[in-house]
């Protein structure tokens, strides 16, 4: 059972453009939704996270939009830079089963100069 579905699988965006990655979940008990950034050969690093009591969270160039009724959340990378080229994973977990993250399949983002 794929509890978190992520799209697209890969994304190419020009420098200065907007990267948008979408995730959909099935388990309505999920109440924590982080996004991780992973560079080749490195472990995932938390980028930004949201809880369902808000519909949007912004940190610098990164914004999470959350739609509870649609069970969807997305990551927007504004003014994309070549240094943003990485694989991005969405994830979800419940407070009751803390740490038992369900990860999406990942999106490889390439930002061209």
């Amino acid at each position: 059972q794929q509890q978190v579905k992520q799209s697209p699988q890969s994304l190419i965006v020009q420098k200065g453009g907007i990267s948008i990655i979408n995730c959909a979940y099935e388990n309505t008990a999920f109440d924590y939704f982080p996004w991780y950034q992973q560079f080749p050969g490195k472990g995932p690093a938390l980028l930004i996270a949201i809880r369902p009591d808000v519909s949007e969270k912004k940190e610098g160039r990164f914004t999470i939009s959350f739609n509870k009724s649609a069970k969807q959340f997305s990551l927007h990378i504004m003014d994309s830079q070549p240094g943003d080229s990485a694989t991005y994973f969405c994830a979800a977990s419940t407070t009751d089963s803390w740490g038992k993250f369900q990860f999406g399949a990942g999106t490889q983002v390439v930002v061209t100069p």
Binding site: Y32, Y36, G41, K42, G43, P44, A45, L46, A49, R51, F89, A91, T95, S97, W98, G99, K100, F101, Q102, F103, G104, A105, G106
Partner: protein, 116 residues
Amino acid sequence: EPEVTQTPSHQVTQMGQEVILRCVPISNHLYFYWYRQILGQKVEFLVSFYNNEISEKSEIFDDQFSVERPDGSNFTLKIRSTKLEDSAMYFCASSESTGAGQETQYFGPGTRLLVL
């Protein structure tokens, strides 16, 4: 900046052998986790550990797997009899707590395990 460290970075083993993957979590963190990532696939949760006990485990974490915090700094994952399908990158992570603002999990660089 404090970081999670893992050793070894790479491990090659024969099928059926036991392996122990080691992790040193961030010193003031209380919650510890193991994940794995098969090449080209998503990260999968294996187990979480708190107060010297397993808190949660996934279906993947069967009797072949065990975790231990043998001393105040190390956190280990043991695979008793490795199978070919255990070949993956194994990530250790730790978090300070689970409460709001302290729940961030910090991942180590991983151990690449190859079972031949």
